[in-house]
Symmetry: C2
Subunit: 198 residues, 2 copies
DNA sequence: CGGATGACAGATTTCAATATCTGTCATCCG
DNA sequence: CGGATGACAGATATTGAAATCTGTCATCCG
């Protein structure tokens, strides 16, 4: 067992945990394996994360935050509000669909993680709805959207498109008509918030 | 074992199966118990249903058809299209919410059944979307709705409201803000199909 | 003779013994 | 002395032998 060449940081532990999850799946990934991958005893891992659940929660947050960051770029862009909203929803659907389709095993692993880490997911969802709120706010300011209650509408938009981002619906994302169904829902909700021509 | 007082019909078998499912749950319900409840041998049950899966599928269909029938009354009513659409969506959400909330164990049982009986559920969904299509059709005819592709929009409406009828979202139906969230989504999609004032 | 029966084989589930894992902490090491 | 270690107790998961269930069919009964 070679001594660790670098100091043991939460960051290194998270990277190793991701790797163990990728290799062994959610059910068989355990703390001892993570420690072994790092060349330390499992007691050392517990110095940085109080429980296995906390460790898994941190990895889950990391995974979700990658999508949040991706979408933040869309929010920060300079498109017109309607285009930006469509872009944001497409980017969300695309990101999820690719995660699910490109590596189904890994996606299944993270589906288990998100299911057990409800709080982390709730925070992630709140962040996404926050991004939506920003886009809607811009649209109202520029006269493209007519919205009474911004936070409520942002949440409604998110829930109305759940079919295309909630992992429980992942099996349906690979259907041939998924893209068409997505566009139909986007068209529906987009019209739902559009300001009527003055 | 008293001889059956009435002839053994699919109908009687289904009623007995429902009862066994209610008593024992989806995991422990078995064909022998159904037969015992009817006072016959399990071989006799297999004369009417080829497999256990077929029997469970038939019970599942029955359960789903009760909701379909309920909603058909709304479709057959004489409300104005927008009101009828809201009424139909409310009735669907209410029916599901009550099934889930009033008897959680039974709901869990049928959740297992619907999960394993994908085809039966798909047919049920197609029926519901058919009902939606009728309402939308009326709305277009009466000038309340502006819709390009009727079947596609009907499906989009159904998917946009999935949060409030898909059993995978049942845990969220008992949240205090569920009704408000529902109304927000309904408002959103209703505006999305409304004809613009001429 | 048409329909019900129950013994049966193979598939599935249950259960308890066994093995592994989580989380703690007294001890060790640089 | 701060951080790593690994032995340990209780919790959780695995395993395989035993029990139950599904689906068939030769036989029986009215």
């Amino acid at each position: 067992m070679p001594p660790p060449s670098e100091p043991l940081t939460p960051e290194r532990i998270l990277a190793a945990t991701e790797e163990v999850l990728r290799r062994h799946g959610a059910a068989k990934a355990n703390v001892v394996d993570v420690a072994r991958a790092l060349g330390v005893s499992h007691g050392s891992v517990y110095r940085h994360f109080a429980t296995k659940a906390e460790l898994r929660g941190a990895v889950t947050k990391r995974w979700l935050d990658r999508t949040t960051a991706l979408l933040a770029d869309v929010v920060a862009g300079s498109e017109a509000p309607t285009a930006k909203l469509r872009h944001w929803l497409s980017a969300l659907f695309d990101a999820k669909r690719h995660k699910a389709g490109d590596d189904p095993e890994l996606f299944a692993t993270y589906t288990v993680l998100t299911t057990e880490q409800g709080g982390v997911v709730d925070a992630h969802i709140d962040e996404l709805i926050g991004q939506l709120t920003v886009i809607l706010q811009e649209g109202v300011a520029q006269g493209e959207f007519a919205i009474e209650d911004l936070p409520v509408t942002a949440r409604a938009l998110f829930e109305a498109t759940a079919h295309f981002h909630d992992p429980v619906h992942a099996p349906e994302w690979s259907r041939p008509d998924a893209q068409g169904a997505f566009e139909a829902v986007v068209a529906l909700v987009t019209r739902g918030i559009a300001a009527r021509p003055a």
